[in-house]
């Protein structure tokens, strides 16, 4: 049985697709057979982030409707072994995802993969609900900013009441907080919510903190998930997060400012 992980947030533009891509690559790099599914029907973007947009022939909705087989729709990733991408349809709307259809595809994928990553669309409508419904674990992507934190709390409420696990009274979905676009300098001067603040408000376990980094845009420009850039802080932070997801202990980095010397403290810099 595969583990199904939804990457969700409620709010848009916080880094769901960036995080889905990097987590999927990280899991595959560590030898796990992984598939990442784009649930954002009508506004697909995972294909761009993973640099396979020109290889999309069939999509998730085609498979649900029986117009293509899984083998025809799955795209093998060119960066790492063990990783496949299932793109979303660009032409349909989100109602094309029926619960029965999604379940059937997930069951079929579950026989072949260890991890299924569901990249959720923004919002709390049908598409987002389908992405989280069958999940075993959830990565809640949050920016240290009021609207993002509030929306994350809304999504947590939905995970706890409208998911399959909640409806069947099974063990609840395991929730992980992934704080992205974090800027320790702005936290230090009281311009940005700190990790502790967000952890305290949402009351879920911290999976990782991804620092605000130029490397994220550079990576998406080229279609190479940022985790592959291990010279960057964001890439290293995603690696740590994937290790923690697999149960390993990694100390949190990039949360505090590096200690400044006497001159820097006196004169700034």
């Amino acid at each position: 049985m595969a583990t199904i992980i939804v990457v969700t947030s409620g709010k848009g533009g916080v880094g769901k697709t960036t995080s889905s891509a990097s987590i999927a690559v990280g899991l595959a790099q560590r030898g796990n057979k992984t598939v990442v599914i784009d649930f954002d029907v009508g506004l697909r973007n995972l294909d761009l982030i993973m640099n396979c947009e020109r290889r999309v022939v069939y999509d998730f909705v085609n498979v649900i409707n029986g117009e293509a087989t899984l083998n025809q729709a799955l795209i093998k990733d060119k960066h790492v072994d063990n990783l496949h991408i299932l793109p979303a349809s660009q032409t349909r709307d989100k109602d094309a995802l029926s619960k029965e259809g999604v379940e059937r595809v997930l069951n079929e994928l579950g026989e072949r993969f260890d991890y299924i990553i569901c990249d959720s669309p923004a919002g709390i409508e049908h598409g987002a609900q389908m992405a989280l419904y069958f999940a075993d674990q959830a990565v809640i992507v949050t920016n240290p900013e009021v609207s993002s934190v509030r929306d994350s709390d809304r999504i947590l409420g939905i995970l706890q009441s409208k998911s399959r696990r909640a409806e069947l009274g099974l063990e609840p979905i395991k929730e992980h907080l992934l704080l992205t676009r974090y800027n320790p300098e702005r936290v230090e001067i009281g311009e940005m919510l700190g990790v502790k603040d967000v952890e305290e408000i949402l009351a879920i376990k911290l999976l990782g903190v991804i620092p605000e980094s130029k490397a994220v845009l550079t990576a998406s420009n080229q279609g190479t998930p940022v985790i592959l850039d291990q010279t960057s802080d964001a890439g290293q932070a995603y690696s740590d997060a994937v290790d923690r997801l697999l149960g390993e202990n990694r100390e949190h980095r990039f949360i505090d400012l590096p200690k400044k010397g006497f001159f820097k403290r006196m004169f700034g810099g």
Binding site: V146, E191, L193, I201, R265, F267, G269
Partner: protein, 87 residues
Amino acid sequence: MSFFDYFKSKKKNTALIARERLQIIVAHERSKKDQPDYLPQLQKEILDVIRKYVAIDEDMVQVQLDKNESCSVLELNVTLPERGEQA
């Protein structure tokens, strides 16, 4: 922050404001999370019925639904004005 920054205008700690606002709104929204959609309408109609007989303010009726394992309890809390003020 450097030594010279202390001479610049002191900025407000807006992160603190954000934290306090979030704590309040999140607690408020969580308390309403499990309530059915019809509850505000129900509250309004109950208020209208009571108002036919007693003059009360909007915030004097509180309706809450508590769910237990086996049953749900609809709790209705009406604060009536002191004697003499009645319509």
